[in-house]
Symmetry: D3
């Protein structure tokens, strides 16, 4: 239920179309996901997000698969099912096995539990935290 | 601002005290965090959470450090500062470097952004997602 | 996937039907959105929400368009896509241009980022905040 | 309860110190908030966030005060009290009156209500939304 | 870290002071919580919230204690520790026992888990839900 | 939009199939909801969640209907519409009347409001809370 129409290649402004083409080149696919086509109404924002995503998700001290796991976790808590879906797919493309996926879900579920217990119990910071 | 008092070793019921001692043994520390001392009012819940945490956070298809990163991510989105603090400390004990920490934060921040953009744009699932 | 059926004009209790008619009159439309038709199972709550919405969203120190932008922002963070959609439409009816919409999204995205960074870093209140 | 120490001017790396000085110059104040001092552990991220904040919050189709109101709304829903405080202060510096502040809070509260009612009722998208 | 000062009885406008006095009378206590003193900057909002709270939390098809349990649950998920604290206290005044409190926390924790699992798994509505 | 396929009885591993059969027996229905069929990819997690749900939701100091109300409240705030739907149905099976449902929604909505007001006002803990 879009609040904006998804822009086709032809409807996108040149600056946005350039980003679509870069996505195709970098991801080695002809597909440009709906997210980018919706964001294309603001070509400057589209370009900024695309650039930042490449920087942030590149191999670094953390490997790309680990970064996708974190992305899925955040998207799950925020309830963004589109994002959960697209980043789970990305994680699979980067090596996520069913066994890893099960463990990811178990950790997310565990954290959701203890986050709520801490808040409901009003647990105060341990002295050694403040050091 | 606890909704329950933190139980000392002496105040805890025997079943809860046994969990405290197991935490000390398994974590090789004399410290039992405030979280466990608050949860100790319900010894069955305390035992269940402690057992499950050990299972979920053990080395598996995902390594323990990766699991802590996911835990910090979920805790951040849920706004649980106690949990963020304790799991960041745990991550450091399992090998988190400042460089990794910066990348973790950058991924969390990126995901928060795109999760919101997807929701605000009302992006619908791509056809290829449904396959 | 409603948890209650949407009530038609005929199915709604008289008190609820009166609210439907007032919505039509005030909004100068024949449409009564699904939200109101779902809420109509509790005519007192329907009447209370409708009255309060009119008070809160009326022109005041903040203009109606600004109020809709705030509404979209809250709805985005809460992940309510129905609400995002209906309030984005309302914002457009009150003067939202595509340029404004892009800026609204950019601010929401920025805030999501820095909110998470603050929590993950455990930033403590500055002294000058407490004054 | 920081997960990282706040960096003083002397402790910050040159790239980070340069951002501190730019904040001072642009905001015409000697104060560099704790947020920036915590983020300074990752000078590249600090620079990126500072640059983006200036772009996003600048006068545009939406004025700076309106942008701060949106920022406060997002921060409220995310439960980031540090952010609520600092952006409410920024809003006041940009012209927020007590009357406007009351209206902002009333809209946020209203949206929180209806967001939850929509979700609890499972309200489905109106046909006219899909057009 | 208030964004507004807490108003004393003397500082509050007459309309707000009247609400303070009504709170004292209805709750049979001399204490007026900080929440009301902060809200008092907007006497109309204060009056509206106080009136609605009394209606919503009164005995009805659900008893007052059950209503406080729901209030604590919502406040926990929203991470509002002030609210968790004040409504847990209210629940205790209405009959909450330690055993009930433990069960409340266990249900909240369970729901947090399964909510996240559903989102991460992208579980689609069962056919029989749509009936 | 599942991130995993829903497993039929035949596709599920024996340990998962045993859980399906136990669900049928305990709930006296032939239906195994999609949630369990998605979770079945991790038979150990499926078994653990099923076991815990039965313990947590059993009659205790709180009755089963009250527990479902709490579950619906948490699911609403987390925006999990699947969970809201399935637990509202469970609540109805345990005695939820339309009148109770309306009151549940009114309490959730009230709490969402005041949670946000507290955060936006930065209300600090009352002295008597700390006692």
């Amino acid at each position: 239920m879009g609040t904006v129409p998804l822009l086709s290649d032809e409807e996108a402004a040149p600056e946005a179309r350039a980003v679509f083409d870069d996505i195709r080149a970098k991801r080695q696919t002809d597909t440009v996901n709906n997210f980018w086509r919706a964001l294309a109404h603001d070509p400057a924002q589209l370009a900024s997000v695309w650039e930042r995503v490449q920087q942030v998700m590149a191999p670094g001290a953390l490997d790309p698969l680990t970064k996708e796991l974190i992305y899925v976790a955040v998207s799950t808590v925020n309830g963004c099912s589109y994002c959960v879906h697209s980043h789970t797919a990305a994680a699979r493309a980067k090596g996520l096995t069913p066994e890893m996926h099960g463990e990811l879900l178990a950790v997310i579920a565990m954290a959701m539990q203890t986050n709520a217990l801490v808040t409901a119990l009003g647990v105060e910071a341990d002295e050694h935290f403040k050091a």
